[in-house]
Amino acid sequence: MPATSNDYALGEMLAVLLARDLGDGEKAIVGTNSDIQVAACNLARQRQAPRLWWVSGPGGMTNPTEGIVRPAADAENIAVAQAVMDLPLMIDFIDWRIHFFDFAILGALQTDRFGNINTVCIGDHARPRLRGPGTVGISALTGLSRRFYIMMTRHDRGAFVPRVDFICGAGHLDGGTSRTDRGLPEGGPRLVVTPLGVFDFAPNSKAMRIRSLHEGVSLEEARDNTGFDLLVPDQVARTAPPQAEELFLLRRTVDTTGVLARKFPWPRAA
């Protein structure tokens, strides 16, 4: 159980932590069911990245910013967008072109030691124990973006497994240079942001490594909730929690109706 905060919701924390890493002038894509991703991009635009450009993958609206976090496919985004592109045009740069996007932020049912992503099934594909929603753009965004982020609203051994049951989004595959050996463009996961901490990938092995743990989260807790051995640096840093200024901008300019707090509260203690 993560150390919860009364000052901000889980969804707000994840959006703030992601927003910090996004760069000015970068190009991003936001998929379906992506409230935290929308908030992270728009918060970055309010702070260090005013010229960050993002497009709704399904709907084609660019930079829809009006202070309300809406589903990316929602037609209401049209009235506050800079452009609206038809999907049959966008597929060229979404599904074929290399490194058009600087980043995408993706959720998953499972991720693993090398940051591969699964949203297809738990268990054998022919008779799955749990049938998930499917792949949609995840294969292309993990495969073709310059980097991607993995955003997990739960951190436990069901979600953090030694090897995903189905690779629908290639991370570092088997680690090392296996991703580029396999013929994929340079890229792969940069950070994993979870209720317990922020994780990255070691430069050579490409295995998942603790970058920082959130306030109140112990090393044992992170290990106990991860189904593989996390790499542990000599000094485990503390995540800088969301600052008052970040939360102020998030709530006053990005998510004025409190969608993140409503949809992504802290999980209740078991």
Binding site: T32, A140, I167, A170
Partner: protein
């Protein structure tokens, strides 16, 4: 198709669906809860078609209801989700039990396949993205011959649905279909299909269509049948006209807990309702009005 008189395109739901036969490949437009062609889906269930091969764009209740009603032998799955309401309940059950064969696909697979279908090409080349998709769907993702040192590619065979079902907001009598929101994969589905059926919430004069021709996403030349179906996307949303019916979608998910409960749902809302007018009465005028007004149902 060719030779159809323009005004003949507007027809009853049953007449439009008469072309759909058992075993056909049926494409479905929209995106998750937006623009799901639900009046057409309910009509197909009442008609009792079987063994369909579905090719849904990322969707929710349209493929889920057809699968739950036993109309589909196979479905492509790019993405079938109820988003914040959970996994697609009937699709999940049928996929886990093996009752429906799932042809796993991704965005590039459906985009490339539909583009090949639209262009009368045998297949389209897409990048090999290192996923497990070719392992579970080898016919859908074939290794392409490439030059030494070239980019690794896959061939995805052309997708040419026998029929596609789409939902737009309005059309004129010639069959120009207008969208007030994003049109997602609908244009590509219409171009790839052999036969295109569009339901619309309302029919409007030609002069209304010409007032903003940029809203016409599916021009008449691509449309074979227009069905006037007010609230034809319910319980999903028809962008610009009404939002999704959260309460009904939650009741649908609850009714989908097992086959018997879902059978009762279908009996109540689809089979015994008998026609869309009776369906509206079951949903209730106040609820439909509230969805149009953008407020929570009473």
């Amino acid at each position: 198709m060719s030779g159809t008189k323009a005004a003949d395109k507007v027809m009853s739901l049953d007449a439009a669906l008469s072309v759909v036969k058992d075993g056909m490949t049926v494409g479905i437009g929209g995106w998750i809860f937006s623009g799901q062609p639900m009046a057409l889906v309910r009509g197909l269930i009442r008609k009792g078609v079987r063994d369909l091969h579905l090719v849904p764009a990322p969707g929710s209740v349209a493929p889920d209801m057809l699968i739950g009603a036993g109309c589909a032998a196979k479905t492509a799955c790019v993405f079938i989700s109820f988003e914040h309401l959970g996994l697609a309940p009937n699709f999940r059950r049928a996929a886990q039990s093996g009752a429906v064969e799932v042809l796993e696909m991704d965005g590039p697979g459906i985009a490339g396949g539909l583009r090949a279908g639209a262009c009368d090409l045998p297949y389209m080349l897409i990048p090999d993205l290192g996923t497990d998709l070719p392992k579970v769907n080898p016919a859908g993702y074939r290794k392409a011959r490439i030059q030494e040192g070239g980019r690794k590619l896959l061939e995805v065979p052309a997708i040419k649905p026998d029929v596609v079902l789409l939902h737009g907001q309005q059309a004129d009598e010639e069959g120009n279909v207008q969208y007030f929101g994003p049109s997602f994969f609908d244009i590509l589905l219409a171009q790839a299909a052999r036969h295109v059926i569009c339901s619309v919430d309302r029919i409007v004069p030609a002069s209304t269509v010409r007032q903003d021709a940029r809203l016409t996403k599916i021009p008449a030349a691509l449309v074979d049948a227009v069905v006037v179906a007010p609230f034809g996307a319910h319980p999903g949303a028809s962008p610009g006209l009404y939002g999704q019916d959260e309460a009904h979608l939650k009741a649908y998910v609850a009714a989908s807990r097992d086959a018997a409960a879902f059978g009762a749902y279908l009996k109540d809302y689809v089979l015994e309702a008998g026609a869309e007018g009776a369906y509206h009465e079951r949903i209730g005028a106040c609820t439909l009005a509230a969805l149009s007004a953008g407020v929570a149902a009473p």
